[in-house]
Symmetry: C4
Subunit: 369 residues, 4 copies
């Protein structure tokens, strides 16, 4: 029985263990770039608090031997309702960079999202047999934007994920204090040479390449330009969600960008139910920002998500162990999810989405050490 206690009993036992390992090997400013949030990091912590206060009501006697974590995400099968979130500069944490992550994702049966700011060429990020999503920043260089969409189609990407919550980068104080810059060895390989920004502050570089004027009209332009499934990432308001669906979006990522954009933004988990209500059952709703365990995935499902994007923990796995570190992280999460689903009496993802939820009014105190 794969989800049983006989597997994955060695350390790391949790995604937080993986983070500890990564932290031990990364330069502090790189760790901070990945781990940090914007402003006072209030949203970064609120994301975690929302998961902690979300209590599940398990079912029993469903005769589940193996909870089936498999799912269809954006029209294609995945081993679990999880995809690798778009993140910039993977090579910053490990020389093998995005290709290692893409391979690990393929092996794990989950989609990999190639980021506009990936540190390796797109060609290396869509391994045969894997599922690739292409994340699109709305670039000032419109030709490059068009090229990215075309490349996505050429490489057989399964979906375009258009990030809509980054007109520019949030004020990430750790980076500003650390004077963190785009590392030359991890600079965005898919931008034209002049735009790769090595040595620039990460925020300054983003401002120089990203067009902040992205609008509903642009969404229509993208929609008309490609038949790939189109997903908007960074939606938290139900009215925006409804409008996006009306304009042809196939899915949304309910996200506050991991607490890295608007400090003070609502936790995505808190925002999720109203979004699901707004768009109905047919729209694919992914969620990110704060997922750190299989139980967290289950919480998101129970609140209406179709699946989640996993961000930082993937980079922790990469930092700690390259491709196999990512593989281990994904397998750990899948095991946790399978265990949580089975313990919650949910034989499959559809059942998981029917679980009851009770919000605790406050976080519970932990005893001191």
């Amino acid at each position: 029985m794969t989800g049983g206690p006989g597997v994955l009993t060695g350390e790391p036992l949790t995604l937080d263990d993986v983070e500890d390992r990564a932290r031990a090997v990364l330069p502090p400013e790189v760790y901070d770039f990945v781990a940090g949030g914007s402003g006072t990091e209030s949203t970064l912590y609120a994301n975690r608090g929302a998961f902690d206060r979300c209590h599940l009501v398990p079912r029993v006697l469903n005769g589940v031997e193996h909870a089936d974590t498999s799912v269809t995400l954006l029209g294609a099968p995945a081993s679990m309702p999880v995809a690798v979130a778009p993140m910039a500069f993977h090579a910053m944490v490990h020389p093998d960079g995005e290709p290692a992550v893409a391979r690990a994702a393929r092996a794990a049966g989950v989609p990999f999202t190639a980021a506009t700011l990936a540190s390796r060429p797109l060609d290396e990020l869509a391994p045969a047999g894997g599922q690739t999503y292409l994340q699109l920043y709305w670039l000032r260089d419109r030709d490059r934007t068009a090229w990215l969409i075309a490349e996505a189609e050429r490489l057989g990407a399964r979906a375009l994920i258009l990030t809509v919550d980054v007109p520019f980068m949030g004020r990430r104080l750790r980076d500003l204090r650390n004077g963190f810059t785009v590392p030359a060895h991890a600079a965005p390989a898919n931008l034209s040479g002049a735009q790769r920004g090595a040595g620039q502050s990460v925020g300054g570089h983003a401002a120089s390449v990203i067009d902040p004027t992205l609008s509903w009209a642009d969404l229509e332009w993208v929609r008309a330009r490609t038949r790939l499934p189109l997903v908007l990432k960074g939606v938290l308001d139900p009215a925006d969600a409804r409008r996006a669906v009306e304009l042809g979006a196939d899915g949304l990522v309910v996200s506050n960008h991991g607490g890295r954009q608007l400090d003070g933004a609502v936790p995505s988990l808190t925002a999720l139910p109203a979004i699901r209500d707004a768009v109905g059952d047919d729209c694919e709703l992914l969620l990110d920002s704060g997922v750190r365990s299989g139980t967290d995935v289950l919480r998101a499902l129970a609140l209406g998500a179709s699946g989640v994007l996993l961000g930082r923990p993937v980079l922790w796995g990469l930092a700690a162990g390259g491709e196999s570190g990512v593989a281990g992280t994904l397998e750990l999460l899948r095991t946790e999810l399978e265990v949580s689903m089975a313990l919650a009496g949910a034989p499959n993802v559809a059942a998981a989405r029917r679980l009851g939820v009770r919000w605790a009014p406050c976080a519970d105190e932990r005893e001191g050490t």
Copy 2:
């Protein structure tokens, strides 16, 4: 006056004191096995938080000299609305093991639950004059399951408690980190020799003997096989509760298995009122997971419980003092309950169940040391 301040004024004064004593004498990995929860232990702590936030509204002028803690549990009289919860491997914490606990329970006038994974033979666990419940895991070895039920009847057990929240063990990280295994001297004596699992990881052993496919159909099979009162342990969803009663369950244990199964599960105290509403007044509802004082028992009663199961504190008593340690623990709890009932103006358990309750929105801060 037995419940007055003249008794039990020596230490240990609280069940937490008993835990402290046990912790001082137990090997750390054994303490961890008993004390720990699954995953991040969020449910373990949430259980305690729910009790802390549950405020009672006492009554006055009821002329109570002695609050009467006695009660009928599953058709038989008990000295208080408490039974010893099923727990595996008692001999792990003290060589006298389950028989000592069973004797102490008999002396205290409360039911003892013999666990499927008890470290001593069933024959020793049902002392004459005591009340015994038999806890049943749904074993892969169906003959052994049938034998356990037959033994329960032969030994005069008062009830069968079918555990429904353990298709396999939750991920208990303390045990995994400690490499904890089934201790040879405490291995489950009521399984066939090959299945006793000494030296196996506790989770691995559980997976090898417990059948995860337990279903509503199996419940009907059990129901048809015995006339013993049948209690389902591990129910948190009202719809499950209702269905169980419809299929002939005589009682339910509202439980999250002490925070040891689904990490993130709702606290059982929080779940209780909706379950009581679902099943009406006739169904026997026990509660466990987090009971640490007489006031906690009273809280459970006020929220609709017929009684509670006491788990870890019994093992702490056993570890700290063998049979007399358990006796002291039970007497302490009974005294606390009697005191709490009298101070709440509840002359008996029926009155206790009519007490008002106010939920505090958050835990209250304690001053520093």
Copy 3:
């Protein structure tokens, strides 16, 4: 201007300062007896939490030069809506004992409550010109109970305060751990010699003299026996409050006995509004348990109290400075109340009782150090 910033600018500046001073001079076990609560002290802390979460909505432009704190309490004028709560054994914290407190209360224009367990004779506790309430424990010695009522009338007491929440003492763990006993020099002077209990545990002594069977019928007996205003102390349930009024009680003290009886009881401040709703506007409602400042008094008024009883801070004042310590404490509280009322735009107590209140959902974090 008496309530202005020109007065009481020297230390102690708060009632907590007074406690600090008392703690510095008292034997630890005496401090603990006064400061402590029952059980885990959850109600002790919840009392404070309720005040902290109770936010006032001040009014403006009421043209208040001097907020008038004066009030009529149980038919007699008082300088502020505060009376000294009944407390046992004053001589334990200072040799001058209750007479010093009674004199300080008289000078401050507030009623003093002589406790059944006072350490000095009643004759010394009702100084000419002062207002005295007599607190009555329902004694096993019914003749002594009758004598106390008769003495109350003979000495011109303004009210009888019948304590209804002490069938016996709560489990006060600090006292049990400290082995605290009734100090010989502070033993209850108004009990017959054999019942004074010097050297007995405080709980044991209370159990030996207090009759736990106090009932609604007994209330009727007391009611019929005296024309003194009759106040029941320790009421938290609205139905009890209504019944008490129907049976002739002139007032109630909404109280959980300072967190010293039922651990887990609802904070009295939380319970207050429903009690006021139950008894209507005519019943005198006092409140105690957790009052530590003039703002706390104002909070109680805004939630429906006619006034409050002040307990521990009076003993801290006595311990720290004898009669003048109590005088200072009461004057500090009156100043705080006058300041708070004026700042809240309440020119008098009637206006204070119309102030709006908003409950915060949680306590606010304080910055470190």
Copy 4:
């Protein structure tokens, strides 16, 4: 792009950084005078807690290149919805005092409020080209009150801000413990010589000059005396707000005076929505008490504020760097606001006021260091 990450990347990065700098250079008793609140400072902390629990729901795809922070405040254009709050004694923190702040405000395009207790003459506080509000305390010296109003008109002040929550100063325990007095070099220059109070306790001085009897009738007197826009500062109750508007107030400041007056008062952010509901959309509503970032300004806007007053951070800037320190502080806040608005998808202040808000039930825990 001015609001982008390319600006203000050097330290101080937050208003709290500015406070740290000020604290490092100020005498502790001066720091305490500015930083402190009244009583237990519960309202001081509750103010911050309210902001922290106020989560914003950002919008997307609004095509915002530059969020436009400009606004009309009290009929005149400002660069952002922020004005400098009235505060006494600026020269206490820096020899350049109020004139430096006024110049920095003018340069930043925001109104400066000249306080009645300013340490420099009014003539120096209304630099040509700047916008000045005059804050009015209701002085016992009515001639001086009239003179202040006349001066406001003579100097072209844009509004009168009548403080209504200071009949006298709250009990500020830090000042009382520090023995803090009005510094001679910062004494209020706009009072007649005898009333400047150098060396007096700040509270005593305030009591000697401020008339606590300010009433609705006085408001009518002021209203009739000047055609300047009239703003009442310190309103928290909706009925007061409504009455003020009926009597001709042009605006209100929803404020608890930074937690310095009634300890226990409701946080102004919590009070704001009901005030907006009470007065409708036409009344100008400013808010102060706890604003520490651009996101806080955005929160206030989203809850119905027309703008905010910025208090302590201005003095921190002045203390740390004189005029340029204030300029830096205001520019930092404007940048933060522009960034927050853009990230929230609000192209302008009108859009900001339509953002959704979700209140978190409790503050989120931060990981330990």
